[in-house]
Symmetry: C2
Subunit: 195 residues, 2 copies
C-alpha cells in the first residue's frame, strides 16, 4: 500500500530512494542502530521529508519490511481486552492475516527474505521490539521479553511449517482447530508462572 | 564423520560422487521420490555400491544432509523409556547436540541450507519421515503425524530463535530452564488429548 499524500510531482522517486536507504541501513545496523537522520543522509534528503513520507522510525521500519499488512493493527486489538483468553484472540488475528490467500504469498516472501544472515537483524532487532514487545507491554505481563520470545518461538515455528514448508497435516489444519491446539501453549507462555 | 571402511584405493571419489548425486536427487524429488537405484544411475555406479557405502535409503538421506550427528542416535534413546516424561528427555537430548559448541555451527549451517525453496523438500519429505515419524511410532501415540508436526513446529521455532537468529533472552537461557519451560508444551503435543 503506497501512501501518496503530499508527494510533489517533481520528485517521483524520492519515496523509493528513502525506502531503499532505510532497507539497507536497517539490515546492516538493526533497528536500534538506525536513525531517521542517518537514513535521510543516505538518501540525500532532509530528515523532515522522511517523517513526512513515513511517520515514525517504527513506521519506516515496517514500511522497509514491505509487509502487506501492519502487524500492529492486526495484533493490538486482540490484547485490548486483557490477559484472559488473549492467546485465542491473538491466534485468531494472526490466522486472519496468514490464512488470507491474497496476503499469504507476500508474507511468505517477507519471511524468506529475513531468513538469510543479512536479514536476520530485521527480526531480532526490529520486528521483536517494534511489534512483539508492545504486545507484552500492553498486556502488562511480568518478564515481557522472555515471554514474548517464547511466544515468538512457537509462532515462527507455525509460520515455517504451515506456510513456508507446508508440512502436513499442519498445513491443512482448519483455523479453529489450529487456534484450539496452540492457544494453551501461547496462554501459558504469556500468563502462567515460568521456571 | 566419514565412513571409510572397505573403500578401494582405486576409486577415491566414488563416495563423494554418490553423495553429490544423492543430494541433488533428494532436493529435487524429496525423500519418497528418490530411490537408491536412481541415485546409483545418476552416479553411474551399481546400486549395491551405494548400499555398501551408505547403508539404507534413510542412512543415505542423513549422509546427504551432512548432519554432524545422527539425529536418530540422539533422539531414539529418549523415547525408549516410554511416554512418561519423554518431553524432558527429548529436550535434554536435543540440547546436548545443539548446545555443543563444536556441533552448533555445523547444525546452524544445515538449517540455513534447507531454508531456501530448493532445500525445503529435504525437511518436509525427508527429515520428518526419517527422523520425527519414527519417534512417534516408537512412542505408540495416536495421530502420530499431527502430534509430531506440532512438536516440530515448536522445536523449529526454538532452533530458529535461539541458534540461528540468537534472539535474547532465549539465546542465553540456561539449558535446564529451557527444558523446564518447553517440556509441558512438548509433552502436551505428544500425549494429551488434542482438539
Amino acid at each position: 500500500m503506497t501512501v501518496r499524500r503530499g508527494r510533489r510531482p517533481g520528485a517521483p522517486d524520492t519515496r523509493a530512494t528513502i525506502l531503499a536507504a532505510a532497507r539497507t541501513r536497517f539490515a546492516a545496523h538493526g533497528f536500534a542502530g538506525t536513525t531517521i537522520r542517518a537514513v535521510a543522509g543516505d538518501a540525500a534528503v532532509d530528515a523532515a521529508l522522511v517523517h513526512h513520507y513515513f511517520g515514525s522510525k517504527d513506521d519506516l521500519f515496517l514500511a522497509a519490511l514491505e509487509l502487506p499488512v501492519d502487524p500492529r493493527q492486526v495484533l493490538l486489538p486482540a490484547v485490548a481486552e486483557g490477559i484472559d483468553g488473549v492467546a485465542e484472540r491473538l491466534l485468531g488475528a494472526f490466522l486472519s492475516a496468514w490464512d488470507d490467500p491474497e496476503l499469504q504469498p507476500r508474507l511468505v516472501a517477507v519471511v524468506r527474505g529475513v531468513m538469510d544472515p543479512a536479514g536476520s537483524k530485521l527480526i531480532t532487532e526490529g520486528f521483536l521490539p517494534v511489534v512483539l514487545q508492545p504486545v507484552g507491554q500492553a498486556l502488562g505481563i511480568d518478564r515481557p521479553e522472555l515471554r514474548m520470545s517464547l511466544v515468538a518461538s512457537q509462532i515462527m515455528g507455525v509460520i515455517l511449517l504451515r506456510y513456508v514448508l507446508r508440512v502436513e497435516p499442519l498445513a491443512s489444519l482448519p483455523p479453529d482447530q489450529l487456534v484450539a491446539t496452540y492457544a494453551p501453549t501461547i496462554q501459558r507462555y504469556l500468563a502462567d508462572p515460568l521456571p
